[in-house]
């Protein structure tokens, strides 16, 4: 911990924050969360939060789009859609209807690293949720008819999220260019060409391969007693046999040997630029100091309205309409550090790129101030407290850690790791990781719309 930390004008409150983070006496339950592992290998994590009669039940599978073989990109997400199509016991659409009748809501999501299903329900119905969720872990009925209708829904989703959004296309192309071997090169939604070729059997194979208790983590947060939850989990999930999971043959991305770039042409007004550097992700919370320093670097560049990128590029130099930085420390695959932005009218994309690089260079040359560093640390501490307000947010945090190879137990270590970052460490990562050799740049080259499609006011028929 840097000495500057204690020189903060907020030292009193920081001490208090530390106290809260380490000894959550103000919070209703103390030895929280609680963990057990069922005999079939399924881990169960429960955080008791008894403020309101509400509970979140979330099942995480440690398989996402990065586990997909070539040719079936998007199948993890397609299967997630198919999981609502019914089982031998529960008819199509009934899953949603039963949860709705209890007052609940439910949904699911897929990422590169995992697939997760959740319901928010009155806690009295937790057993019913588990019965339904355990049932579809093994008894899904996946018909050709249901598949051929749902794959059209997924294609519409792809059009909505990606094909009609030039900036989403830029990121899709950026990832496909950064990664040549690692499966992060494929979009979670899948390439349209793969969606068009996909069959119900592809989805069935995915389901048989990965939907097993020993590939899952159950997270329950809310107005529950953890012993009762453990008991229910044993009753509903404990009877499912563990399965032999396929080998995960994930290609490691070879070292990048030179700068890369890609251009997307699509209808738009504003140009757009996204730059990605290969950097480490956090694998060991004790030792991976660079990942913490990179996180702080991201916050110093773009962690608040007055942070460096917005301040200099948008407010002072007015080179950009928007500018940002992003780094996700925790992921199963390789890490990337992004800078992105959109040039202001009359400014070129090259000028924006130069200005973004100049901010990195300033940090390499001059370092960062203690005040800046303390500011973003304060924010990290405060946001940790704020995150306790949402049951869903807490369940997400636990589930993401668990499905990415870390543990909820690392939460405190992760915060301590961030708080220990020094100004010199931030400068050091800025110096070591932003070489052009590991850089990929993607640009949106905005194309004019057809004449009829460029109204300056809503068109009348």
């Amino acid at each position: 911990m840097s000495s500057g930390f204690f020189l903060s004008p907020l030292r009193r409150s920081l001490w208090r924050l530390t106290f809260i983070a380490c000894l959550p006496m103000a919070l209703p339950a103390q030895a929280n969360p609680f963990e057990t592992t069922l005999d079939n290998g399924m881990k169960v994590v429960v955080r008791e939060d008894r403020r309101a009669p509400s509970a979140v039940h979330m099942l995480w599978y440690r398989s996402g789009s990065m586990d997909e073989p070539m040719g079936v990109s998007g199948v993890a997400h397609v299967l997630e859609h198919m999981m609502f199509k019914g089982t031998r016991k529960v008819g199509p659409g009934e899953f949603n209807a039963r949860i709705a009748a209890l007052g609940g809501r439910d949904n699911a999501f897929t990422s590169r690293d995992y697939t997760a299903y959740f319901q928010q329900i009155p806690p009295a119905h937790l057993g019913t949720m588990m019965a339904l969720e355990a049932d579809r872990m093994k008894n899904l009925v996946l018909t050709n008819d249901a598949f051929s209708s749902e794959i059209e829904v997924v294609k519409e989703e792809r059009r909505l999220r990606t094909d009609d959004r030039p900036r989403a296309l830029v990121f899709e192309q950026l990832m496909a260019t950064v990664f040549q071997a690692h499966p992060y090169r494929h979009p979670v939604i899948g390439w349209m060409t793969d969606l068009e070729a996909m069959t119900a059997e592809d989805a069935r194979i995915w389901y048989r391969n990965w939907y097993a208790p020993n590939n899952a983590v159950l997270v329950v947060v809310g107005d529950v007693d953890h012993r009762a939850v453990f008991k229910l989990a044993r009753q509903h999930y404990g009877t499912i046999k563990s399965a032999k999971l396929p080998m995960r043959r994930i290609s490691n991305e070879p070292k990048q040997i030179g700068p890369r770039s890609v251009i997307v042409r699509a209808p738009a007004e504003l140009a757009y630029l996204a730059m990605a550097w290969r950097v480490p992700s956090l694998q060991n919370p004790q030792t991976d100091r660079d990942a913490y320093a990179l996180q702080m670097l991201g916050e110093i560049l773009d962690g608040y309205d007055g942070a460096r990128l917005n301040r200099r590029l948008v407010r002072e130099q007015r080179i950009a309409v928007s500018a940002g930085a992003s780094y996700s420390a925790i992921s199963r695959g390789p890490g990337l550090f992004f800078l992105e932005g959109s040039p202001a009218p009359g400014q070129s994309i090259e000028a924006l790129e130069t200005a973004l690089r100049a901010e990195l260079q300033r940090i390499r040359d001059e370092g960062v101030s203690e005040a800046e560093l303390n500011r973003v640390k304060n924010q990290a501490l405060a946001s940790r407290i704020y995150s306790r307000d949402s049951l869903m947010g807490q369940a997400m945090e636990i589930g993401q850690l668990e499905s990415r190879g870390l543990s909820w137990r690392d939460e405190a270590r992760l915060l301590a790791g961030l708080r220990a970052v020094t100004a010199e460490e931030v400068r050091s990562v800025a110096r070591r990781y932003f070489d052009d050799t590991s850089l990929t740049v993607a640009r949106l080259d905005p194309q004019p719309l057809p004449a009829v499609g460029t109204p300056t006011a809503p068109q009348q028929p």
């Binding site: 989703e157 699509a266 608040y304 949402s390 049951l391 719309l449």
Partner: protein
């Protein structure tokens, strides 16, 4: 550090548009007469004239505050659409002795999240802060400065004007904003709810406009404050005074007129080279204090508001695979807010999808819901009470809405009784009187990139 969240995190099976999400939060909060009491709301008027609604919630060391002014874009001066938005957006561009950099650094130092939102009715400032006395008091003082002593620097107005025009031009290349603008203008022709900012109006805004707007609308008696969190009543009273005592005296705030009903249906197409058509169908809907509020709310839950279980979802998505997102909502406002059905489908399919929407809506209006559907909707809305009030953020959403619209302070207790009392006949009757299939506005925006049937995967790249 925000832009990649969606990209890295996840694809969700069911999209909720931001508009819809706010409706769900604002509308479907329900209290159960049997299970749990709604949070206890204390209510008073501060000596400054501001209305205050307060809920003590002591479990977490944090406080949420929202200050709402009847200063939304419906109050824009004629020909100057955008003044309300710029006034709101520039509150923190310099205030009192602090410039914009000092304000954002100060907020970050305190761990204060200073946010805002803006709609047609309301301009809101929101604060999420730590409840320890020093952080709390300094956060409130900073917010008070921003609210009461904004500088509106002319030079920053110019910068924001350039950004705003650039973002507007960008938006006008995209089917969703193009469609929303056409839809809004058509259902509210001649009403402030139907005005869209454009290059001309944004270019005409001056610093004096912002100062004038702030002086007239950001007054204590035009303010409603909601406070939820770790503090006692006496502290909440002090905070309400601090936030509002130096506000301008305020000018006359006119009441919004009731939008006229549509005289005839209209179908509009907006050209855009996108793969999907964004389709909007609707009309002026209902007000926050509408006598038909509950029948329309429950009915809409069944029609297209209830997510996976709604009729539109079943017909358009589940049976036919026509769309990922298909929804309907009533957005209750001070006066008739919009009723809207929305979906996106590949261009070549838009006519087919629209036919399904129309027949589903017409069938629902003529026959009303089945007893089973009605029961399912009531079950979801009543049994879900505790879930919609299980965090300070969610409670704040309701409490601020109750305060701003002047709803009864037992509105949350009343809710489940009112939902439970809705009958099939009441839904059928309310929809028949209020929704007119022959007088709906339909907008189809974009989809020109997918003219050929079967031409899937058409991207918009030329």
């Amino acid at each position: 550090m925000r832009f990649l969240f969606d990209f890295f995190t996840a694809l969700s099976r069911h999209l909720r548009t931001p508009a819809l999400a706010s409706i769900i939060l604002a509308v479907s909060g329900i209290s159960s007469p049997f299970a749990q009491a709604a949070p206890r709301i204390e209510q008073w008027t501060a000596p400054t004239g501001a209305k205050v609604h307060f809920v003590a919630s002591r479990a977490l060391p944090m406080i949420d505050i929202q200050v709402d002014f009847a200063a939304g874009s419906a109050f824009d001066p004629a020909e100057k659409s955008g003044v309300a938005g710029f006034t709101h957006a520039m509150l923190d561009a310099g205030a009192g002795d602090l410039d914009e950099q000092a304000i954002s650094e100060r907020a970050a130092d305190l761990g204060l999240i200073l946010g805002g939102s803006m709609d047609r009715d309301r301009a809101s400032l929101s604060l999420r802060m730590l409840s320890s006395a020093q952080e709390r008091d300094e956060s409130v003082a900073l917010a008070a400065t921003v609210l009461t002593r904004p500088r509106f620097p002319a030079e920053i107005l110019e910068r924001e004007r350039v950004r705003s025009l650039a973002n507007l031009r960008e938006a006008l290349t995209k089917p969703a904003p193009l469609g929303v603008r056409a839809f809004t203008a058509a259902i509210y022709a001649g009403h402030p709810y139907g005005v869209n900012s454009d290059e001309k109006s944004i270019s005409s805004i001056t610093r004096e406009d912002l100062v004038g707007f702030h002086t007239r609308y950001y007054s204590a008696r035009n303010a409603s404050i909601a406070i939820v969190g770790d503090l006692d009543r006496a502290t909440a009273e002090k905070i309400a005074i601090t936030l509002t005592r130096n506000l301008p005296a305020g000018g006359n705030v006119e009441a919004l007129s009731v939008p006229s009903p549509l005289k005839e249906g209209q179908m509009m197409r907006v050209a855009n080279p996108s793969a999907q058509s964004h389709i909007f169908v609707g009309q002026p809907g209902m007000s926050r204090d509408d006598p038909d509020y509950f029948p329309l709310l429950v009915g809409n839950h069944i029609l297209g508001g209830g997510g996976f279980t709604s009729r539109l979802m079943k017909e358009v998505r589940e049976k036919r695979g026509f769309a990922y997102d298909i929804h309907s909502y009533f957005e209750p406002r001070r006066v008739l807010g919009p009723f809207q059905i929305g979906l996106q489908t590949k261009g070549a399919q838009s006519t087919l999808a629209l036919e399904v929407v129309r027949s589903t809506l017409t069938g629902f209006i003529s026959e009303g819901p089945t007893e089973k559907e009605l029961q399912a909707a009531r079950d979801n809305m009543v049994n879900g009470f505790g879930l919609r009030l299980d965090s300070n953020a969610k409670i704040l959403g309701f409490v601020s809405m109750i305060g701003f619209y002047g709803l009864s302070h037992d509105w949350l207790e009343h809710y489940p009784r009112a939902v439970s009392a809705v009958s099939r006949e009441a839904v059928r009757d309310a929809f028949a009187r209020r929704v007119h299939p022959d007088r709906l506005i339909t907008v189809i925006a974009g989809g020109d990139g997918d003219k050929d049937e079967g031409g899937t995967g058409t991207t918009t790249q030329p």
